[in-house]
């Protein structure tokens, strides 16, 4: 590692840490009145400080960072595993699986005569929705693995992921046709939202990150070896199916948890590793962990903006991440064309 590389990586870590601290503070300050220090002080001195800051803003802010971190981690893992900078964590059927899980619960409750929506669901219903999304995400990945007959071949895995995405998407549409009331709930889920994140979500997301981050980091040397091609990696004594299964398990868990808590937040998993590689090219171990930090900061920034832009109304956070992420990729594309 060169001195310049070390400096760039150090600067990125310091920058991300500082940005995260600022954004965490902004997340606590941002409310329905807008975004200012004075408003925060007013809220803190008010009678509902514990409720507003302690029970609503703090878990939402931390939850947004954790969700983004899981997506960033999963994105870096997916891009390394598939050796494709356009790979995103939803590639293996987790997104369509989670979406189908949510739609099935929403449609089932509607057909049973006591419809629920994401906005008004009580605690029990939310647990049901979250569980359905998580189970759906894992099921989507399992079906993909089954179709691909394991994790032997990258291309087969990618193709299976695409097929599962299309088929589960079609099933999704079929269910919403039969139970149109589920469409609205599905739409809220598809847009992604950090508005429902509570302390329970933070615990689940935090535990997920504690499990997935070391797992992905530990297997990152295999991703480095894969940059030389699958045969070269195998000749180095790596058992590639085992490597893929371990990394896909981490990817599926991270994505499933993130999606189940915050819906389909777009672009964070795709853009975070790009940002990290752009500022500090590094082996996969560093890129994976730094992408988690970048993903967390990105989603947190989007969440603060989503709360502040048209306060007291909120913009769905997924819309903002799509705009920010898409804009960044367009800018990258433009720069390359100019170069």
């Amino acid at each position: 590692m060169t001195t310049m590389d070390t400096q760039r990586r150090f600067r990125l870590v310091v920058g991300l840490t500082a940005l995260t601290v600022v954004l965490l503070a902004a997340g606590l300050a941002a409310g329905s009145d807008g975004w200012s220090l004075a408003a925060l002080l007013h809220t803190l001195n008010g009678p509902d400080a514990a409720l507003i800051v302690g029970e609503i803003r703090a878990p939402r802010t931390l939850g947004a960072w954790l969700t983004g971190a899981l997506l960033g981690l999963a994105g870096a893992t997916a891009q390394g595993l598939f050796r494709n900078p356009l790979a995103d964590p939803y590639l293996l059927g987790s997104a369509s699986g989670a979406s189908l899980g949510v739609v099935l619960v929403l449609a089932g409750s509607t057909l049973a005569g006591h419809g629920i929506s994401l906005a008004t669901a009580d605690a029990l219903s939310r647990i049901g929705l979250v569980s359905a999304a998580f189970a759906g995400a894992l099921l989507g990945v399992l079906v993909t693995l089954t179709l691909a007959r394991g994790a032997q071949q990258t291309v087969r895995l990618l193709l299976s992921g695409v097929i599962v995405g299309v088929v589960l998407g079609a099933l999704n549409d079929l269910v919403t046709t039969a139970a149109p009331d589920a469409l609205r709930g599905k739409q809220a889920f598809m847009l992604g939202s950090t508005g429902f994140l509570g302390w329970g979500s933070c615990v689940a997301l935090g535990l997920g990150l504690i499990v997935c981050a070391p797992l992905s980091w530990r297997w990152s040397r295999a991703l480095d070896a894969l940059t030389l091609g699958e045969d070269s990696a195998r000749s180095l004594g790596l058992h590639l199916p085992r490597v893929r299964i371990a990394l896909i398990a981490s990817l599926a868990l991270a994505t499933g948890l993130a999606v189940s808590q915050a819906g389909l937040v777009a672009f964070v998993g795709l853009v975070a590793p790009h940002l990290v590689r752009r500022f500090a090219p590094a082996p996969h171990g560093f890129t994976t962990l730094a992408s988690a930090g970048a993903g967390g900061a990105l989603l947190l920034a989007a969440d603060v903006l989503a709360r502040s832009l048209i306060a007291p109304q909120e913009v769905p956070v997924g819309v903002l991440t799509a705009l920010l992420g898409g804009g960044y990729l367009l800018w990258l594309l433009h720069r390359r064309r100019v170069a």
Partner: protein, 258 residues
């Protein structure tokens, strides 16, 4: 150092509708063996079979009398270093980080490299003269420079058996000669070196040659063996002749043929 015994017996490999290897038997002896033959002769396939990357449809491949497939992957990786014909090189790794990958069979995924690993990496980079740009990234290098790095990656394994598919690809003449000297040194140190080579004059500098054609081994023997030379010329349809220049053999294109 006593090299382990790698042995391929009656190996057949089918790639699609093509019989890429048809009953090939080969036991690489210690020293440097070059595999030659026309395009599609099965040279790279034989090397992949020997490296355990291509399971044979029939026949046996053993390492120290134990089936190659039965070896734990890491132990096998530490004994057989393989260089691909056209290695991919994506990613953001620096030259040193790439060469470090050669230590993976010794470290596994979870052990941090130690002094011995750093020394092996330094030695491999010095041998291929790529230490000067160890801080550059692989995608910033020319084809020849990249090839030297990938060769260093294979050397860093410090394996007793080296299996090199077209190691001279992209190398300029001075570095081709340097590579030959390196392979000769490795062979003298007791290693078993097997390389596929398209440069036939370079191949004739190896201790032994294996001549292949249409999936079969047509001849194998010492580089001075007249019967080997006859098979050599024959598999190339008489388009070359072999001549002695000083203490070396070289191939010359047979321009006067129809």
């Amino acid at each position: 150092m006593t090299p382990p015994r790698l042995e391929a017996r009656d190996v057949c490999v089918r790639l699609g509708d093509t019989l890429a290897l048809d009953g090939a038997s080969f036991v690489p002896p210690p020293g440097w063996t070059a595999i030659v033959g026309p395009n599609g002769a099965g040279k790279s396939t034989l090397l992949r079979v020997l490296a355990g990357l291509q399971p044979p449809a029939a026949g046996h491949v053993t390492l120290n009398a134990r089936a190659l497939a039965a070896w734990p992957a890491r132990e096998r990786g530490a004994m057989l270093a393989w260089l691909a014909q056209q290695s991919e090189s994506s990613g953001e790794l620096t030259v040193r980080e790439v060469v470090h990958l050669g230590r993976v069979p010794h470290l596994g995924l979870f052990t941090a490299p130690g002094i011995e690993d750093e020394a092996a990496v330094d030695q491999a980079m010095a041998a291929t003269e790529c230490a000067a740009w160890q801080q550059r990234r692989l995608h910033e290098l020319s084809g020849g420079e990249r090839q030297r790095v990938l060769l260093a990656r294979a050397l860093a394994v410090m394996a007793p058996i080296l299996l090199l598919d077209e190691p001279t690809t992209h190398l300029d003449p001075p570095h081709q000669v340097a590579l030959v000297r390196l392979l000769q040194r490795e062979a003298r140190a007791g290693r078993t070196v097997v390389s596929v080579l398209h440069d036939l004059s370079l191949a004739l500098m190896a201790d032994r040659l294996v001549v292949m054609d249409r999936g079969r081994i047509r001849a194998q023997g010492a580089r001075d063996d007249p019967a080997l030379h006859a098979a050599f010329v024959d598999v190339f349809g008489g388009a070359i002749r072999i001549e002695r220049v000083g203490d070396r053999w070289i191939t010359v294109p047979q321009l006067e043929m129809n």
